[in-house]
C-alpha cells in the first residue's frame, strides 16, 4: 500500500498542487465539505473540510481507504502520520507570502511572533520527511510552479514514475489566480 500526500504549510500552494494532480489524471481524494471561496476560487481539494489533522491526532483517520490516492495533509498533520508507505509532495513558499495569505483568510497576524513559529514548523516537517524511512518526498516551490509550470510538473512526473498527464496538468496552473507573490524571477 502506498499513500500519496500533498503537504506544506497552510497557504503554501497545497490546493494548487492537488488541482494540478487532479487535472493531470492522478487519483485524488477530496470531498465538498469546504466549498471554493475567494481565498481558493478553484477549491480546496480537501477531505473533511481540511480537518484531517484532528482525525490523525486521535488515530481515527482511515489511511487504508486512500491507498494509491493523493490526499492533502498540511504540515502540522505530518507529525501524526502513522507508520506506512508514503510518497509526499511538499510545497514550499516564501513565508511572507504565506503570512499575507493567512492574514487575508483568518485576520490580523502578529508576524513577529507567528512567522518564526511557522518557520519552525516548516523546518520540523522537512526534518521529519528526511528522517522517516517510510517516506519518499519531493519539495516543490510554489513560485517555481507559477512561473515555470511545465518544468516543475515534469519534475513531479518523474517523482511519480511518469503517471502524470503533463499537458493537462500544466493547464491547471493559472498564474492570474495566484496572488501575494513577492518574489519574481
Amino acid at each position: 500500500m502506498t499513500n500519496y500526500i500533498v503537504s506544506g504549510l497552510e497557504r503554501s500552494g497545497t490546493s494548487m498542487m492537488m488541482q494540478i494532480l487532479y487535472k493531470g489524471g492522478m487519483s485524488v481524494a477530496f470531498d465538498k465539505s469546504r466549498p471554493p471561496n475567494e481565498h481558493n476560487p478553484k477549491g480546496y481539494y480537501e477531505l473533511e473540510g481540511g480537518k484531517v489533522i484532528n482525525r490523525l491526532m486521535d488515530g481515527t483517520f482511515p489511511m487504508e481507504k486512500y491507498d494509491e490516492k493523493f490526499i492533502k495533509i498540511t504540515a502540522y498533520g505530518l507529525k501524526f502520520l502513522p507508520r506506512g508507505n508514503y510518497k509526499i509532495i511538499y510545497m514550499v513558499r516564501n513565508l511572507d507570502e504565506i503570512m499575507d495569505s493567512m492574514e487575508k483568510m483568518s485576520g490580523p497576524i502578529d508576524r513577529e511572533t507567528e512567522k518564526p513559529l511557522f518557520e519552525k514548523l516548516n523546518k520540523y516537517a522537512m526534518k521529519l520527511l528526511e528522517e522517516r524511512e517510510d517516506i519518499e518526498y519531493i519539495t516543490v516551490k510554489y513560485n517555481d510552479v507559477v512561473l515555470n509550470p511545465r518544468k516543475e510538473i515534469e519534475r513531479i512526473n518523474e517523482f511519480l514514475g511518469g503517471k502524470l498527464d503533463v499537458e493537462s496538468a500544466v493547464k491547471a496552473v493559472d498564474p492570474k489566480l495566484y496572488r501575494n507573490v513577492r518574489e519574481k524571477r
Binding site: G49, K51, M105, L117, K120
Partner: protein, 75 residues
C-alpha cells in the same frame, strides 16, 4: 581536577582511544590530544544545541494550533 587558574580541567579518556586520536592527528594542525578533543566536543555541542533550538515547545505548538483553527484546519 582543575588547574590553578581554573581555565582548564582534566578529563579522563580510555588509553586505546587516546592512542587512536594520537594517530589521527598526526600531520594535522592539532598539536595535542587535548586540542583535538576540545575541537570535537565544541562541534558536537554546537550541533546538538542547533538541533535543540528546532524542537517545538508546547507553547509554540499551541500558538500554531490557534492559527490553524482560525484558518479552519483544526477543530
Amino acid at each position: 581536577m582543575s588547574n590553578e587558574k581554573g581555565k582548564y580541567t582534566t578529563v579522563s579518556i580510555p588509553t586505546p582511544l587516546a592512542e587512536k586520536i594520537k594517530k589521527r592527528i598526526e600531520g594535522t594542525g592539532f598539536t595535542s590530544i587535548s586540542s583535538y578533543v576540545t575541537y570535537v566536543l565544541r562541534e558536537l555541542l554546537a550541533s546538538m544545541e542547533e538541533e535543540e533550538e528546532e524542537v517545538f515547545s508546547k507553547e509554540d505548538e499551541e500558538k500554531i494550533k490557534e492559527r490553524l483553527r482560525a484558518l479552519g484546519y483544526l477543530d
